[in-house]
């Protein structure tokens, strides 16, 4: 079998008329939503402890003590959940030459005419940015988070170190929230994307428009299909 370059095992054309392409298998989707869920819990509980104006959000988790208790555990959950996701996605998120051009012409992307741009694999530079930003920030957050986890590691690091950890943790948190917003927004703005994570498939048109190389590779595999 020819080596996959722009797709990963499991990606395949599902129907031909109209064309639908399977983009994420069930496991990956579940994995994504667990990660997303825990991120949202962390976001809400974290924001509650981050700014008084949002302290009311502790109500969602049964009060301040419960929120204080819950946040770090969900953090650990997020870390491992995302780690599994990472193992599946990291290869196709490695940067490629065409990403540079794509970024240079981000304006056209926003205008919606991607015809001028080079054809892309499964992910565009934007998606890759979000992937790597998430990866990096989650590592920073888990490390700094453990350093200030009062209940289990009260004496893990010195108080000055804890102060830095708090600062870094909150900065990283702001960053990851912004990343998250971008991620969600892009997913909505680019119509036809959400179903990739809900139903697992995208329309051929969507794939053609946004990830043509990916589609070509899968199409190629189709043709070489059972006939041979």
């Amino acid at each position: 079998m020819a080596k996959r370059i722009f797709s990963q095992p499991g990606d395949h054309i599902e129907t031909t008329a109209p064309v639908t392409v399977s983009r994420y298998r069930g496991f990956t989707r579940a994995n994504h939503w667990v990660t997303a869920g825990s991120l949202i819990v962390l976001l809400l509980s974290g924001m509650a402890l981050f700014h008084p104006a949002l302290y009311f959000l502790t109500g969602l988790f049964g009060g301040g003590q419960a929120t204080r208790w819950l946040h770090p555990f969900v953090g650990v959950l997020l870390f491992f959940s995302f780690f599994i996701l990472f193992l599946q996605l990291w290869r196709l998120n490695l940067p490629r030459a065409e990403d540079v051009t794509w970024v240079e012409n981000i304006g056209d992307v926003l205008k919606g005419d991607e015809e001028k741009l080079p054809e892309l694999g499964k992910y565009n530079a934007g998606q890759k940015f979000i992937f790597w930003a998430m990866s990096a920030l989650i590592v920073v957050l888990i490390v700094s988070g453990v350093m200030v986890w009062e209940q289990y590691f009260p004496h893990l690091v010195s108080i000055p170190a804890r102060r830095w950890a708090m600062l870094v943790h909150s900065l990283a948190a702001v960053a990851i929230i912004l990343t998250f917003i971008l991620h969600v927004y892009a997913a909505f703005w680019t119509r036809g994307t959400l179903r990739a994570m809900t139903r697992g498939t995208v329309t051929g048109g969507w794939a053609w428009k946004h990830h043509r190389k990916w589609l070509r590779e899968l199409a190629g595999r189709e043709r070489r299909g059972p006939a041979e």
Binding site: H51, P52, A53, L54, Y55, F56, L57, G63, G64, I181, V184, Y185, F188, R191, G192, L194, R195
Partner: protein
Amino acid sequence: MNIDLSRRGFLKLAGAGVAATSLGAMGFGEAEAAEQAHVRAFKLASMTETRNTCTYCSVACGILIYSKGDVAAGENAVITHIEGDADHPTNRGTLCPKGAALKDIVHSETRLTAPRIRRPGAAGFEEISWDEALDKIARALKDDRDANMVLTNDLGVPVNRWTTTGFLAASATTNETAWLTYKTVRAMGIVGFDNQARV
């Protein structure tokens, strides 16, 4: 079709976020403390206050003992707190680390609450009644005194000395207890009589 739906969903979510954050940033939706600021209820309110003297060294600091219930009124009284008596000329309300912790010597886990006896060779104490204990003691005293009282010396001088039973008196009991102790011990002729003055 589903695009429209998702548009509506999108608006809802984003709207909530904006509302929360922007309102918060503008200082609306001020957080409220669950509990109003308050200090601990003053624990001596409605206690009985009794004046006493610290039981330790002979600076003899004045102390105030606070209790639930009033012994003077014949009630059952549980001591809840002890602190210095500010009216006392010597200590002016101050107390040392021992005096300041007097309450916990009164309520010490190693306080004795019942008469006990350790029989010869036994590995432990067993409880006995006051009557049994006191009768045993009285009997032991009488027998030993009758057996070993020295009535006269070689010169026939009456000496009435009892040396085979000894008594170590306390150092923190009241003068009144001391006098009663003195009286009984001397009357019996005990000479092996001492107190803590030396140590």
